[in-house]
């Protein structure tokens, strides 16, 4: 009895130690730094006052969360139909597997490489502008780089798989009998989707969205490369403070602000999801 209890305890200890050393401890350091000042480390709220008292920071927070929200929304609008296609439409298993691989393989490549790829594609003379010009859809090149549109394109590209996998998983778990029951009770395919399939896949949609939203609001590489220095998001300000200005106290305060805002947004999303899930 005793010996069998040791192994799980050891494993648990290992996981806890790892979690403490590499997550909790650094996090505590960041919080501590954000609340102190100078070599004697006196307590102060000065950094937070500096962050929240400045209109510039509010603008950056707004841009950060606007990009994250739009990324989530667009990923959802593109990803859910794609998940539907993979789960419900594709009958041929090999093709479905090929699609999933196409979806997952880019994740093995570094974000930096993929974002650089988009810089090339979205440039003034990039493939996208060339194609648009040649087909006559536009007369002058569209400026993607250095705009929120460009950042959005890159972010959606990188984060789309998360929604597709989460929504696809949820869709695959909906028993077809529910849809047949709805059909049998006189609901059109459209009504069946909105009253049965969508509510039943809502948990998957919410979890996928939360994942995409948190990743998008804390993303650094893609916005940094595609912003062309014209747009700033919170993660870029934080990086600046830590890597160039070396103001760990102020950088810490910015990090904590980002974390708190993200948690608030995620909390709201979870609440909206649970209300819709139980009422419809």
């Amino acid at each position: 009895m005793k010996r069998t209890a040791i192994a799980p305890a050891l494993m648990l200890f290992g996981a806890l130690a790892f979690f403490t050393a590499f997550f909790l401890a650094p996090f505590a350091v960041v919080i501590f730094a954000s609340l102190t000042q100078g070599a004697d480390q006196t307590f102060t709220l000065e950094h937070y006052i500096r962050v929240l008292g400045d209109q510039y920071h509010w603008d950056v927070i707004l841009v950060t969360f606007r990009i994250a929200a739009l990324t989530t929304l667009i990923s959802l609008l593109l990803g859910y139909p794609l998940a539907w296609y993979l789960v419900r439409v594709v009958k041929w298993r090999a093709w479905r597997r090929a699609c999933v691989i196409l979806l997952v393989v880019p994740m093995f490549t570094s974000n930096i490489v993929r974002s650089f790829g988009w810089m090339v594609l979205l440039g003034r003379k990039g493939l996208v502008n060339q194609s648009l010009l040649e087909t006559g859809l536009i007369d002058t090149p569209v400026r993607f780089l250095g705009t929120e549109l460009g950042i959005l394109i890159g972010m959606v590209y990188i984060l789309l798989p998360f929604i597709v996998l989460a929504a696809g998983n949820a869709l695959a778990q909906v028993d077809p009998a529910y849809e047949q029951a709805s059909d049998d009770l006189g609901a059109s395919p459209r009504a069946t989707f909105f009253h049965v399939v969508l509510p039943l896949t809502m948990p998957g949609i919410i979890s996928g969205s939360i994942m995409v939203f948190t990743l998008a609001s804390s993303a650094y590489v893609t916005p940094a490369l595609l912003s062309g220095g014209r747009i700033s998001v919170l993660s870029m300000l934080i990086f600046q403070q830590y890597s160039s200005v070396f103001d760990f106290n102020y950088g810490g305060a910015l990090s904590v602000v980002l974390l708190i805002f993200t948690l608030i947004m995620v909390g709201l999303a979870g609440r909206v999801g649970s209300i819709r899930g139980s009422q419809s």
């Binding site: 028993d175 009998a177 529910y178 047949q180 029951a181 709805s182 059909d183 049998d184 009770l185 006189g186 609901a187 059109s188 009504a191 009253h195 049965v196 509510p199 039943l200 899930g277 139980s278 419809s280």
Partner: protein, 355 residues
């Protein structure tokens, strides 16, 4: 009575497998029909074709004279009780039942009113705020029933709805379904593989095998005059004894020592005679059989008693015969002992071999 549902030359294949082989069936207004057969016989395929979840390869299905073969399920004037109920897990009981009327365009309050009426019909009015997950199988069954009848369909399809319930509850639900059907006056088509269940509830039983309809009739007709060897064997227990008939109408059974007798109506020259075990008597040693009774001599092979009745298995001229006697077995009936059996030839039902 007029024809409500008319199934006309319906065929369905799954690759090389024939699920429905030229099905022809008319169902009257207000009838309780049971589709009975072993698994894979096509009964569920037929039900799903009527509901519209499956498209027959050929043939026509009409409800009230209107061809519904090409209509999607949501446009057909019928409802289904699914095998595993398929209650929407994200809705309360009331929302589940009100779903039908809501989708038909009934406003919220009226839909709730109708749903409460339907729930009252199945005795579940106190449960409307519960979620299906927290209910027993029997309660879920009733919710599924309420949800299916709330739209007042002309036809209710039930796909093995009682198969998940335990024996006692199942028996009670059979009678409740029968009463509910009589009260509503709508036609029920009920799929089952349980012949006892079928005989309990059906007005008419449709016996299916290998994609074909073997026989349609009341439980009485199907039991006492099975149309085929399959039906005789599938419904209840039967002694199947090969027979041959001579030109002058004399019937000779495979049990060689059975006296000849004359058929009352013309029969095919060859086939099987069906003799139900309850029509075979175990005769007391010494006492002669009555005049109308034919006597058989044989050896007991097994005696199986379930208390209320006993099955005596014996071997007569190489032909196994089962007799059913009331109550517990006689003490002298043990495997290996010799036995005298008697039966009245009027109880024989002859099934001619199709040539």
């Amino acid at each position: 009575m007029s024809v409500l549902l008319s199934i006309d030359h319906v065929c369905k294949n799954f690759g090389p497998f024939t699920a429905l082989d030229n099905i022809q069936l008319d169902i009257q207004q207000g009838e309780f029909i049971v589709l009975l057969g072993p698994s894979g016989c096509g009964k569920t395929t037929l039900l799903r074709s009527i509901a519209g979840f499956m498209q027959p390869d050929s043939g026509r299905i009409a409800i009230d004279g209107q061809d519904v073969s090409r209509l999607p399920p949501y446009r057909r004037p019928l409802n289904t009780v699914f095998q595993n109920y398929a209650l929407f897990p994200h809705m309360t009981v009331l929302e589940n039942v009100a779903y039908g009327p809501r989708r038909q365009g009934v406003n919220r309050n009226e839909a709730r009113l109708k749903a409460r009426e339907a729930l009252a019909m199945v005795g579940l009015e106190a449960m409307e705020e519960r979620f299906p997950r927290g209910m027993s199988g029997g309660q879920q069954q009733r919710v599924a029933l309420a949800r299916a009848i709330v739209n007042q369909p002309k036809l209710l399809l039930l796909d093995e709805p009682l198969s998940a319930l335990d024996m006692k509850l199942r028996k009670r639900m059979q009678l409740e379904l029968k009463h509910l059907q009589a009260k509503l006056g709508i036609a029920f088509i009920f799929v089952t593989h349980d012949q006892e269940e079928a005989m309990t509830i059906a007005d008419r039983i449709v016996v299916m095998n290998a994609g074909r309809i073997e026989q349609v009739g009341t439980s009485r007709e199907i039991y006492s005059a099975p149309a085929s060897r399959f039906v005789a064997d599938f419904i209840g227990e039967a002694n199947l004894i090969a027979y041959e008939s001579s030109d002058n109408g004399e019937i000779r059974l495979a049990t060689r020592h059975t006296p000849l007798f004359h058929a009352t109506k013309p029969v095919s020259p060859r086939g099987v005679a069906v003799l139900r075990p309850e029509h075979v008597q175990v005769l007391d040693a010494g006492s002669p059989a009555s005049a109308s009774c034919h006597e058989l001599q044989g050896t007991v092979t097994d005696v199986v008693s379930v208390g209320s009745h006993t099955l005596v298995h014996s071997m007569i001229d190489g032909q196994p015969i089962v007799a059913r006697t009331m109550g517990l077995p006689r003490a002298d009936l043990v495997a290996g002992s010799s036995v005298r059996l008697g039966f009245n030839p009027t109880h024989l039902h002859l099934i001619g071999e199709s040539l």
